[in-house]
């Protein structure tokens, strides 16, 4: 439980640091302060066992998207997004664990969760990094086709997931 909270704080800290680094390139102090205050509020909520993390998550995400629209350095934005996702996952996991006594929770389960998260975050970071290197020129028609494919693929995935909920 303690290790999960610690991992959450580390992830959130990294995400905020990456975001701050990205906004620093444009001297966006206001955005940095907003990001830090949202992060502090989120950390406070997790520490007190409340479950409204999606609100904080969405707030930081909006800042990231805003940063992407301002053409901030993508590597910082990517790092911030991956660690933000990890922080969100760990926040949810902390809330999930808080419903149980510490004795009820298998340490192996916690370790496996952290390992899986590490793999997923690593894969996301690696693929994102590779995508930054590879440059593909897309025509308008190809972009629309790709958009349609993505739409169909993700819609199928969501339908599958919702059917399993």
């Amino acid at each position: 439980m303690k290790s999960v909270r610690l991992a959450f704080l580390i992830s959130l800290g990294l995400s905020l640091a990456c975001m701050a680094a990205a906004f620093l390139s444009l001297s966006g102090w206001i955005q940095i302060v907003i990001g830090l205050s949202i992060g502090a509020q989120w950390a406070f909520l997790v520490w007190n066992g409340r479950r409204t993390y999606w609100f904080s998550f969405l707030g930081l995400l909006a800042l990231l998207v805003y940063g992407a629209a301002l053409n901030l350095p993508t590597i910082w934005l990517l790092g911030s997004l991956v660690t933000l996702l990890a922080a969100w996952d760990l926040g949810e996991f902390t809330a999930h664990l808080s419903a149980f006594d510490p004795d009820q929770v298998s340490p192996l389960l916690v370790r496996n969760h952290l390992n899986r998260l590490l793999v997923v975050a690593g894969a996301g970071l690696a693929l994102g990094g590779i995508a930054l290197i590879i440059k593909i020129r897309l025509e308008f028609g190809s972009a629309v086709l790709l958009g349609l494919l993505v739409f169909i693929g993700l819609a199928g995935a969501v339908r599958f997931l919702r059917g399993n909920l």
Partner: protein
Amino acid sequence: MNRVILLSALAFGLILYGLGIMNGVFLVLALPVVIYVLAGLLFGPQAPQIKAERSLSARRVSTGMPVTVKVTLTNQGEKLEQIWVLDPLPPDLEKLSGQTGCLASLAPGESASFEYTVRARRGTYLFSSLQANTSDYLGLVRRTIPLGASGSISVLPDIRRIPTIPVHPQQTRGYPGTIPARLGGPGITFFGVREYQVGDSMHQVNWRASARHPHVVYSNDFEQERAADVGLILDCRRESYLATETHSMFEDAVIAAASLAQSFLNDGNRVGLVQYGQYIAWTFPGYGKIQRERILAALAQANPGVSLVDHLEHLPVRFFPPRSQIVLVSPIQNKDLEVLYNFRSRGYALLVISPNAVSFELAHLPDRTAVRVAGRIARLERIVLLRQLQQAGIRVLDWDVTVPFEQAVLTLTRGSARFVLRGL
């Protein structure tokens, strides 16, 4: 908010926006999100097969006895990365130790269990069916599976050992018991004399009476002792009882009913029970230990309720055999008198065990002059009420519930005391 929907919407949005403005940064940012969602798809539970068993250390216990509940989950299907079960405790059950749920990973064939110990007051407690939740490690794709494994505990009322209470119904049954039957025959209490009959033992001959009548020989006759029908009525009307935050007079009434049932059954009588409250619940008359268990089970579930009618007029008189013994456990209200007179006029022998609501309430009120005066008036009213019952030939035990029932009931066993009242 559902995480899968949120993340999928985010991925959609980033990709479509990136394609729309032809900006690859948004596509790059969408990649970690897509991978996160796909990990949930890939490792989510398929069709979990879980068997659950609930075992209880006892299903029927006395008040205050601890019960250990153990729940075992066995995975009969593929590996479950994450499974969690929470067993919600029925209200009023006090958890003494242990865990009421578990969170684990289960390999095929592997089991996980949790156990806890609870204690409860009188009543019947139902454990609802269990539900298992399974998901991947990240908790994205979740499935909920009903497992069954419900159960129940009956916490029986306290029973006090009380002495035999002498009762004298007009009608007894044909079986031997302890109640004088007002019939001559084998017994130990002198009943009368009758003319000698062939087969009478010499010890039975009443020589004194025979000497007075030279041509006739008389034998002593003894009073037969037989079993009787005893109908217990427990008043379950909420308005009859007072309660504090920690104690209710109704619990005392239930203890009295349980103790009386045991006492009468131990003496070989046929005992039935009627609970009169929100509805009428009856336990048909019977003998012995099985009947004792039936009555205790019924009393375990007894609760005071708001009666549709506010007096006892709907008591099912025909439920009790004619001229049998009726024992009513009730604080008694003024409006009940008519019904009790009616019982009496039908030939029933009536014994009223009446927990004293006045003394109960006074014990929980501050000692002020106004309270003392009011208490004195209330006591007088109660004495008048109980005297009216006495005048109708009804035996009454006015029971101050601060005195243990086994002590209070002793007054009924002394001589021919027909009416026991506490002084002012």
